[in-house]
């Protein structure tokens, strides 16, 4: 029987808990969690809280943001490598995406350590990262 993983993930966010999946076979992490390990395909996964620690490597912003997130534009959308291993992409607070020049200068300062947090974006609790310590 397949677990209600997506619901547990989003219910977890409402309690400020950010869940990933650790594989019982290869021990590697999948984030966000799905029904099998993204590394080895095993179904022996356990939902666990991630550390929330990560490193942002690149970011930018689009002049044609998705309809759902247009009201936040321009926002920094970045590639974050989690301490647990997986890469994830989401909004990164604390990075300046106001102009091409600030994006260029901002990227010159990367990689930077970031911390995950739960934030309500367009009516849903999601995971974003912040450069604030």
């Amino acid at each position: 029987m397949v677990d209600t993983i997506a619901k547990k993930f989003y219910d977890g966010l409402a309690k400020k808990k950010i869940l990933g999946a650790q594989c019982g076979a290869c021990k590697k992490w999948t984030f966000p969690p799905v029904t099998a390990c993204r590394e080895c395909g095993s179904r022996k996964i356990t939902l666990k809280q991630i550390s929330g620690k990560g490193t942002v490597h690149f970011y930018s912003t689009s002049i044609l943001p998705p309809k759902k997130f247009a009201k936040y534009s321009p926002y920094a959308y970045g590639l974050v490598e989690l301490k647990e291993g997986p890469s994830f992409m989401t909004m990164v607070e604390g990075l300046n995406a106001a102009t091409p020049d600030t994006i260029r200068k901002g990227n010159e300062k990367l990689p930077l350590k970031v911390k995950a947090k739960v934030s309500n974006k367009a009516g849903m609790n999601v995971v974003v990262f912040t450069t604030k310590k």
Binding site: P32, P66, K68, S87
Partner: protein, 422 residues
């Protein structure tokens, strides 16, 4: 050793790419008529009619604008193929590349002798509750519907931004990896666009009609690079400019695949399908080195293994360039260029039709235009025409004996097919 083919392309067809509300040649044509036009050209090219073909596979992605998803059943009449086996299939923007492998397997299995594959997309408008009255699509709606192709449980809702994911970050990553500052990277992207726009200007079916020199001149710029850096060409997602990104268009494409041993009965210059492979990956498609895409490596290595070839052996390469940064990244993954070397080749114009390493000679997803599922068929059309020596003013001078075509399908599928001329 190069593999022996079991399946060959004996007919190709392609409509003009543009806007069915405006573009001469396709104006006022319905989705069904676009499909018929591409299919009939392929049938004529193979000296066949619908009754000579055993089955047809119809590829398209966006039902929001086609207002159709069981269209293969509707299309049997329009194609003259009543009661023939048919199906609808999709791997998004790689669809008609995937169809090459499907058709090759179908004829190689012995079930069918000949298969028609046709793809179509109408992205600029949709029927406004009236089949011959269309309404223009709002670009944000188009991308909202398109983004149904990316991970809908997590990625989309986490502030997903396609232009940054697909264009900006791979470009930043390529520049960082190979020590190019972002001014130099901009110059590299300009040089890629020179080839994109030149090829499109020489293709009578392409959406873009002018090369960069003509575009700049019309806007009163003496130096095309000044135009490139002007407000006419803003950053779509820094450092990716608008002219480095796709143009969404309407259009259809088709090809006919038959058993290799029968191919010369239908066409004097068949093109053999000698290898193919596909790979799928959920988001994100890369890690901190955004130039390394596992799906592309998997698709190329599988197709090359089946074909018995290597990337350095290719005479022509077509890569998916909805963001032109993939002309760099994917040509290196393909082994067509060594890692970190493709940008130099683009600066020197070597990938032009008259260069020694030709690529994407119909103008790619910006120049020819991006008609999601149908575009890979337009790229196969170009490749077959080049291999036959029928590519007109942009004919590559050296004989094209071995070629490969790569496509991405949102989000994300990679399809690679390897072709051999006779």
């Amino acid at each position: 050793m190069v593999s022996k083919a079991k399946a060959s392309i004996v007919g190709v067809g392609c409509t003009k790419f543009g806007n069915v509300m405006k573009t001469p040649g396709i104006k006022d044509k319905t989705f069904h008529e676009l499909i018929a036009e591409a299919a009939f050209e392929a049938m004529d090219d193979a000296n066949m009619s619908g009754k000579d073909i055993d089955a047809f596979y119809l590829g398209s992605m966006l039902s929001h604008t086609s207002h159709a998803y069981s269209h293969h059943t509707q299309m049997c009449d329009w194609l003259g193929m009543q009661l023939k086996p048919s199906l609808h299939f999709a791997t998004a923007c790689s669809t008609l590349n995937t169809g090459l492998g499907m058709a090759a397997m179908s004829v190689a299995s012995g079930k069918f002798k000949t298969v028609l594959v046709v793809g179509a997309e109408t992205l600029s408008s949709y029927p406004d509750d009236n089949p011959v009255k269309r309404k223009a699509v709002d670009p944000q709606d188009l991308w909202y519907w398109t983004d149904f192709g990316v991970d809908q449980i997590y990625a989309y809702h986490h502030c997903y931004d396609i232009a940054t994911a697909y264009g900006a970050i791979p470009t930043l990553s390529y520049a960082k990896k190979y020590g190019l500052n972002l001014d130099k990277m901009d110059e590299v992207m300009y040089n890629i666009y020179k080839a994109v726009s030149k090829h499109a200007s020489l293709d009578p079916k392409a959406f873009v009609k002018d090369d960069i020199k003509q575009i700049a001149k019309k806007k009163k710029f003496k130096d095309p690079f000044d135009y490139w850096r002007s407000k006419n060409n803003p950053y779509f997602a820094y450092p990716t400019r608008l002219l480095s990104a796709l143009n969404t268009v309407d259009g259809a494409s088709a090809y006919i695949v038959t058993r290799a041993e029968n191919a010369k009965k239908y066409n004097k210059k068949p093109v053999d399908i000698i290898g193919f492979h596909w790979s799928a990956s959920n988001y994100p498609w890369y890690g901190k080195d955004a130039t390394e895409w596992a799906i592309d490596k998997t698709a190329f290595s599988g197709a090359y293994k089946m074909a018995g070839v290597k990337g350095k052996d290719l005479d022509y390469l077509s890569v998916h360039d909805c963001m032109q940064i993939y002309q760099l990244i994917t040509s290196e993954t393909a082994g067509y260029f060594k890692k970190g070397e493709s940008w130099k080749a683009m600066m020197e114009g070597r990938t032009m039709f008259n260069g020694d390493k030709p690529m994407n000679t119909s103008g790619g997803r910006h120049g020819k235009g991006h008609a999601f599922a149908a575009s890979p068929g337009a790229e196969t059309y170009e490749l077959v025409k080049q291999m036959r020596g029928q590519a007109g003013r942009k004919q590559i001078k050296k004989p094209i004996k071995l070629a490969a075509q790569h496509n991405h399908g949102y989000g994300m599928h990679a399809a690679v097919t390897v072709f051999k001329g006779r």
